[in-house]
């Protein structure tokens, strides 16, 4: 699912214009809407009561829940009034400083008339998709050989706040990827594991950008005939990803910031 947040007085107008242009299942999430559960012509309208507050930093838990819940069966999510880490965000007629917005600010038009919708849709398409473990499991079970599968093994890597009780907390990690080459290597690992007897589908996804303490980083999902080959493939999948895929991690704790490879 490709998400986009829009903030500012004209946010709803821009979201409507985008929703009319996007092809695919689109969820519209409106922070200000109060008619909970209201359905519209588009696939899903998730509504939340406005609480009048909007925090400039960190994670909005409700928004994250909606992203996670809607990701497996939507192609797009358009949100007004919300922004969070790793979600591309448009500030429309909104003079907030882009650096005060938690999402990645991709455009700052004054009004809807100033927006190049084609360019903005291109930006939405090119952004990192919002992928959850559930997204990958649903994709795996859609495999034509799923009727021969009696096992799904999954691995989720997440941000560990501490190794020991006395440690400074790790507040977040920032991941950077060698675009293109990282995807090629992950695809090669998956294809190699799928060549094993009884392994039908291997899917992996590694998030990039800033990921906070407790959030998920990486998923590996294996659809297999039996548990033995599922467990083996999921372990080898994450091990090979960590050894060979060009992704780089910078860690920030309460006390310091460092590239992880430099500490090893």
């Amino acid at each position: 699912m490709q998400p986009l947040s829009v903030l500012g007085p004209d946010a709803a107008t821009l979201v409507d214009a985008l929703a009319a242009r996007l092809e695919g299942r689109t969820a519209v999430v409106d922070h200000a809407a109060v008619d909970a559960g209201e359905q519209s012509s588009i696939a899903t309208t998730a509504s939340l009561a406005a609480d009048g507050t909007w925090t400039a930093t960190g994670t909005d838990a409700d928004f994250t829940d909606m992203l996670d819940r809607l990701a497996p069966d939507h192609d797009y999510l358009l949100a007004t009034g919300f922004s969070r880490l790793r979600v591309p965000t448009v500030l429309i007629g909104d003079d907030r400083d882009p650096t005060d917005v938690p999402g990645d600010v991709v455009a700052t038009p004054d009004a809807v008339a100033d927006v190049d919708l084609d360019a903005l849709i291109g930006t939405v398409e090119d952004a990192e998709p919002w992928v959850t473990l559930e997204t990958l499991v649903e994709r795996a079970t859609a495999h034509p050989d799923a009727e021969f599968s009696g096992a799904i093994a999954t691995f989720t890597g997440r941000v560990r706040a501490k190794e020991e009780p006395g440690d400074d907390r790790t507040t977040h990690l920032a991941f950077e990827k060698y675009e293109g080459v990282a995807a090629e290597r992950m695809a090669a690992i998956a294809t190699d594991l799928e060549d094993r007897d009884g392994v039908f589908r291997v899917l992996m996804h590694h998030r990039t950008g800033v990921i906070e303490d407790g959030e998920d980083i990486v998923f590996v999902v294996v659809l297999a005939g039996h548990r033995e080959e599922a467990f083996r493939a999921v372990e080898d999948g994450i091990d090979r990803l960590k050894d060979t895929v060009p992704i780089f991690k910078k860690e920030t704790t309460e006390a310091e910031q460092f590239w992880v490879h430099r500490q090893e």
């Binding site: 990827k177 060698y178 992704i247 780089f248 590239w259």
Partner: protein, 90 residues
Amino acid sequence: MEWKLFADLSEIAGGRTVTVDAEPGDTVGDALDALLAEHPDLRDRIMEGDELADHINVLVNGSNVAHEGGLATELDDGDELALFPPVSGG
């Protein structure tokens, strides 16, 4: 030719890409020398004496040159060069 740099290497060089004076027909080693001439501060980070440090990866078009012709590999027009420390995903 253009180098793509990752992690602390791009921080040291002050950018994710560096264009260097190397042509098709030159070697990867020539392009590396040109990079070090442009950014001498990278030398301490990536070299051990006159040799590229073992833990530093050099890729041409996504393939590690250590598994192929090494720094003697000849460059072709349009090659993509990348330099990075040990990977640390997950």
